[in-house]
Amino acid sequence: MWRLKAFLKRVGVLAATLIGASLLIFLAMNVLPGDPAEVLLGMNASPEAIASLRAEMGLDRSLPLQFADFVGRALVGDFGVSATYGVPVIDLLAERASVSVPLAVLSVVLSVMFALPAGLYAATRRGRPADRAVEIGAQVGLSIPNVWLGLMLVFVFAVTLKIAPAGGFPGWGAGVLPALGALLLPAVSLAAPQAAILTRIVRAAVAEAMDEDYVALARAKGLSHAQAVRRHALANAWSPIVTIIGLQFGFLVAGAIVIETVFSLPGLGRLLFQGVAQRDLAVVQGVVLVLVATVIVVNSLCDAVADWRDPRRRAAIPPLASP
């Protein structure tokens, strides 16, 4: 019963956060100087034409009504029509997401694949040279701006060694391998700082768990050091690790937008900048809404996984037995 309650509460919080975020976006777009209708029709449009377009766009209604309409449309995937491209924003989003989503997934996978073993290795060798080396490496890794890392990777692998494309995207139609190849350098530059941060988190979480009595108890039961770390310390480290992956997702989204520019990838980030440059409000609004909603949902999912990994967090109402 309390599990259902906890689940409903989580969904409720998620929905409230999403509505709050869309309200912020809606307000931001509404306080923009300049009337969207004016922007669409240009400086020389007649006041009548603007008024009729305003009515057509529903801009003459009260703000709460407009907001309800905005949320309702967003829920069914109607983000309006792009002023510059003349096509529905949702189509643009779908097309660009086919680049951005694989890029994000690839870099999360890369960073976890690096961070888990590196963090574990360092945690089990606390205070020794190997640990110091991982720590310094991680600190360097998170100090390097990913734009610059991207540029350097291009310089080394595309310009000097000529074994990778310098940028651009052939499209998934050109085959999976060339497409993945085009995403590899961007994903590496995106993953590097994430991996560095995650390595430190894994190390800290495992190291903290290793100091607990239950790991000592595991040794006293006859487990070897490595077994005790794997079965007891790591089991307890999962929860904080997953939470951090969720919290870092916002940085990943921001990083992806920048990296798409470095490698001229036609993703959501490029779309956002084109929208900003052209003052294409529907596009900006659509991209921002989708990105922010993704951050919120991923965050909430990671939280849910972390709770599932840790029964103490799972139990909203702990059923305490009498002593």
Binding site: R126, D211, E212, D213, Y214, A216, L217, A218, R219, A220, K221, G222, L223, S224, H225, H232, A235, N236, W238, S239, R309, D310, P311, R312, A315, P318, P319, L320, A321, S322, P323
Partner: protein
């Protein structure tokens, strides 16, 4: 069976153990007694061959003829859990929070035996039965956080004794538990150990716990101060550290007339609700000037909630009157008239304030000038034996000194009632005696009314004029101390007293258990 010789330990450049030596025979029991920092836990980890991080050992630990300190890790792991096991101090961290208790009990079976999964499960259920957990409704699928502290320590006992090891080391297994749970866990440990033929080393700072072991070893500053049969060590200590421990535990307070001052504080029908449950239900009591009232009961019975509610630290319903006048619990009048001394000498003070700021705090809102306040604080600090410390920070003081500073803070605004919530339970025996003597003096000389919460029944017996017994949020018994101890009425009172008695049973009972194999279940 066990022969510890010249065990020494270093941690961060300092020598912590200075050559600890003692033997232990099969089926025997040994209490390792000492003040905090005397090296008890380090010795335990040394015997186990599992140094804590950053600790280096030297010497020999001969266990069944082999030196554990020189043994390869793999061989050592084969002994751990099978021939040699451990129970840790803190029930909140000793079990893995993300693993079901059944799996944690089964772990030594998986490691050391070839039992099938089904047989393992059957054995786990058997152990849960034996440790009384099944009877308490605790099954193998539970997680540690769903269990009480006492239940968790029983799980720890089940894990430690799952494979009938030759030796189990218990590091203060009950110091975080209330008296009733503690007595139950200790009974279980010694009875089960006797049944399966396991020798016990129990580490403790409590001489009542030590009484359960046949032999007692007193540690002081990393040295063995004394080793001998428990009874002779505790009744006729030969070394100074042992004598100090024993003297600190024995309370001798000056005799006094029964106080019959004016009624200062009365609480009527106090009810406290927290998280949807009533933690205090309709509790009423009153206290006179100079009177000493003890609140007893097991953990979670509502003692602390009641005491905090009447001073307005918890929302409550009911009526509080001060010298016959009704007051709102959050009113500054009441707050200044009733002050508290808290349990934890570490968290009682803001670490970033100096003693002057700390002790003058209750004078906040009075007309006194800063200089007068500080002078008053200094007077009170001198009264508790700590003159001229206004500029110093809390961390420069020992636990006992801190509790005296806490008392000075409580007294600075001349309260009429002092509430002490387990004010001495975090202290070593010697420091404890020092603080109790001070409380005694305050009630006798200053006629301050004292409400104190305690788990330690011998302290209650010595210090209290009257006793209130709480169970599940209600006051189930109230009366003069002698009457309640001599003729307890409520079943909860009887249970508490029985638990206290088992503590005091002395070494004779333990001696019998030491050599014989008998079972409480047979």
């Amino acid at each position: 069976m066990l022969e510890v010789e010249g065990l020494r330990a270093w941690a961060s450049g300092q020598q912590r153990l200075r050559g600890v030596s003692f033997p232990l025979a099969e089926y025997d029991s040994l209490a390792m007694l000492g003040a905090s920092g005397s090296g008890k836990s380090l010795t335990a980890r040394g015997i186990l061959g599992l140094p804590p991080r950053g600790v280096r050992y030297d010497g020999t630990v001969l266990f069944q003829g082999q030196n554990l300190l020189a043994m390869p890790a793999k061989q050592l792991s084969a002994l751990h859990g099978k021939a040699l096991s451990m129970i840790f101090q803190e029930p909140s961290t000793a079990l893995n929070p993300v693993m079901r208790i059944g799996d944690q009990i089964a772990e030594p079976l998986t490691i050391h035996t070839k039992l099938s999964n089904q047989e393992q499960r059957r054995r786990v259920v058997e152990l849960l039965d034996k440790t009384g957990l099944t009877a308490a409704g605790v099954g193998p699928k539970r997680f540690p956080h769903e269990l009480s502290g006492g239940q968790r320590q029983r799980v720890a006992v089940a894990i430690a004794l799952a494979l009938s090891p030759a030796l189990v080391i218990a590091d203060e297994p009950t110091s975080a538990l209330d008296a009733v749970s503690a007595a139950m866990v200790l009974d279980l440990l010694f009875e089960l150990a006797a049944e399966v033929g396991t020798a016990v080393i129990i580490i403790t700072h409590d001489i009542d716990v030590a009484r359960r072991a046949r032999q007692t070893l007193v540690l002081s500053e990393g040295n063995v101060a004394e080793l001998g049969p428990t009874r002779s060590v505790l009744t006729a200590p030969k070394s100074e550290p042992a004598a100090l421990l024993v003297a600190g535990a024995a309370l001798t307070l000056p005799s006094r007339e029964r106080q019959a001052g004016k009624m200062v504080l009365s609480a009527e029908r106090i009810t406290v609700a927290r998280g949807g449950a009533h933690v205090v239900r309709e509790a009423s009591f009153a206290i006179r000037a100079g009177e000493r009232l003890a609140l007893v009961g097991r953990s979670g019975s509502g003692k602390t909630s009641l005491s905090r509610a009447i001073v307005g630290l918890l929302p409550m319903s009911g009526r509080v009157t001060l010298s016959g006048k009704p007051v709102v619990p959050t009113s500054p009048v009441l707050r200044r008239a009733v002050q508290m001394v808290f349990q934890d000498p570490v968290t009682s003070f803001n670490p970033r304030h100096n003693i002057g700021q700390i002790v003058t705090e209750p004078l906040f809102g009075t007309q006194m000038a800063k200089k007068e306040r500080l002078a008053r604080a200094d007077t009170l600090l001198a009264q508790v034996g700590l003159p001229g410390v206004l500029e110093r920070k809390p961390h420069e003081f020992s636990g006992g000194q801190r509790q005296r500073i806490a008392i000075a803070r409580a007294l600075v605004a001349s309260p009429r009632v002092l509430i002490a919530d387990e004010a001495v339970s975090a202290l070593d025996a010697a420091l404890r005696a020092e603080v109790i003597a001070l409380l005694d003096e305050l009630t006798r000389v200053e006629h301050i009314a004292l409400v104190f919460i305690a788990h330690d029944l011998s302290l209650v017996r010595h210090l209290a004029d009257r006793v209130l017994v709480m169970d599940a949020g209600r006051i189930v018994e109230a009366g003069a101390t002698e009457t309640v101890f001599a003729r307890p009425q409520a079943s909860e009172t009887k249970a508490l007293l029985a638990a206290g008695d088992r503590h005091q049973r002395g070494s004779n009972g333990a001696l019998e258990r030491g050599g014989h194999h008998y079972s409480v279940w047979s």
